[in-house]
Symmetry: C2
Subunit: 328 residues, 2 copies
């Protein structure tokens, strides 16, 4: 039995998580789910957005499925705490066109690898007399680690090119370190093509020539922005999964939030959560099941009938999950 942690969270997080466990159940894998709390409701019950038991548990299991949480203003973010506590330093965000989706581009398939441990997420901010200052920390260690991760990922998945994204013309020192680390590590991968662009140019190329991208690697906040832009390219956040990977654990979450506006209606699109589940299975070396799950999701989208309202259908979250199970 492989133990995994399940953190449904708040709002539609819980609803899409039910869809995920339904589909996982139907795969009849040897998985043992252990539920844990985090987020807004958890804060109301326990006074913490991310209790110690939850963190301890995630450290004991090799994978965590995370739904979505509602922010509690002034309190620490559950997901950012988990990324830090488990040192989940690589955030993988695929940008892939699926059939049957109303999107700007139909032929995209690239992956953004976001450094997930430092940069402007270092939590080093202070008020000053005039306002406030945040520190953007870029280390050689983290830059080389994420570059190596990106090159290894490209190699393993048969991709050809890795593009580093930075703003070294303005952030000459911090992004200088990032860029130099990228090319230094890149020397160990002679078969992969390397290039680098400024983040502003990249934000434009996503629209004018997105087909040139294969694997991108970038610092934390640039990755945050570009991956949401990437989501917009292929139909919006309802479809975008992500993997947060460390040396010991992986945490898998849809990029969308808890969506309080549609909470309780049972109509949340489960695709991002199901694709995140597929990424988890791949991480757990159940490649065959991971691929079958992704194919089943793709088939349901292509068919376009049993889908949630945001995709033009009349079906519920669980209807769609059952349809995916049927297609597997």
């Amino acid at each position: 039995m492989i133990k995994i942690t399940i953190i449904p969270g708040d709002g539609i997080g819980k609803e899409v998580m039910n869809a995920a466990t339904h589909v996982l159940d139907s795969l009849e894998l040897n998985l043992d789910y252990i539920y844990a709390s985090a987020g807004y409701e958890c804060f109301q019950k326990t006074g913490s957005t991310i209790p110690d038991e939850t963190i301890k548990l995630t450290k004991k299991t090799s994978a965590t499925l995370f739904g979505a949480v509602t922010t509690v203003p002034g309190h620490k973010s559950a997901i950012i705490s988990l990324r830090k506590e488990l040192d989940l330093y690589a955030n993988i965000r695929p940008v892939k066109s699926y059939p049957g989706i109303n999107s700007l581009f139909k032929d995209l398939d690239f992956v953004i690898i976001r450094e997930n441990s430092e940069g402007l997420y270092s939590g080093l901010e202070d008020y000053t007399r005039e306002g406030a200052v945040a520190r953007r920390v870029i280390t050689r260690r983290a830059s080389e680690r994420i570059s190596r991760f990106a090159f290894d990922y490209a190699k393993k998945t048969g991709r050809k090119k890795v593009t580093a994204v930075h703003k070294a013309n303005v952030l000459k020192k911090t992004d200088g370190v990032f860029k130099d680390s990228f090319y230094k590590v890149g020397e160990e991968y002679p078969d992969l093509e390397k290039e680098d662009f400024y983040v502003d140019a990249t934000a434009m190329y996503f629209l004018t020539k997105p087909q040139i991208f294969d694997v991108l690697v970038t610092t934390n906040l640039f990755g945050d922005i570009l991956s949401d832009e990437g989501a917009g390219l292929v139909g919006g956040l309802g479809l975008i999964p992500s993997a947060n990977i460390g040396d010991k654990q992986g945490l898998f979450e849809p990029v969308h939030g808890s969506a309080p506006d549609i909470e309780g209606k049972g109509i949340a699109n489960p695709v991002a959560m199901l694709l995140s589940t597929s990424m988890m299975l791949k991480y757990l070396k159940m490649e065959y099941e991971a691929e079958n799950l992704e194919k089943a999701i793709s088939a349901v989208l292509k068919n376009g009938k049993v889908v949630t309202p945001d995709l033009g259908g009349n079906y519920s979250t669980m209807d769609m999950a059952r349809e995916v199970s049927k297609q597997i």
Copy 2:
């Protein structure tokens, strides 16, 4: 006679500047051009990318037209120095669809107001033992100043809504200051609608519902990224002008760079430079001429014949400039 500084710069900067002065000449305005140097060639001649005389001159004239410069690695950026020296704290970047342009959206007309004096452009970066750290400085003074500028701009141009873009869920202190300043100043503008989004969500909304935007106001680097994304929405950098505005001077520049790859061929698209020139005329209170110039550019684009190769035509930079003059 109104004196203006002309800085052609490098590469196609010089070519599109010739187009701009040609069109300005044909308007027969009372303008006196004073030429000044900056950029790569200037560095080779004088040892400085932005000589003191150039800065002094721009301080004496009320407006500067700036072409584009090639970066000299390791030396200060001419444009960033000018923004700082003249305290050009507001960068106005329109995102507008023009007829005849092959673009993702045909109906966009919004404006990004980018804070141009601080944030990650403060130049406060240091190497550390582990790598480097950059300081993102956000002050109440600059945040209120740019918010006021954005609200005033909205009022003056008959727009209805101002959207603040930030990342206050992660940069709680710095972007907390920015967001609070926005709403505080906003109270003085009861007739304008206000809203705020996270920068990542905004990068997605640009693609999924760009029509909701009217005036956006944001910090320096977010404005840099979003305005290039905005350029991508309406056909690319060849069309995007910008205005850098301070309390005493204005500097007007195309968002594109010096494009060494097409330098000397005479085929650079002059539209971004000509639209920047129109923004300058508006700033100099020559509203009538500014509008006529913009209409003429629009007509030439709509007609789609006498245009440069990037727009599908066979004409040169100067051919296109002459056609614009003819249409005025």
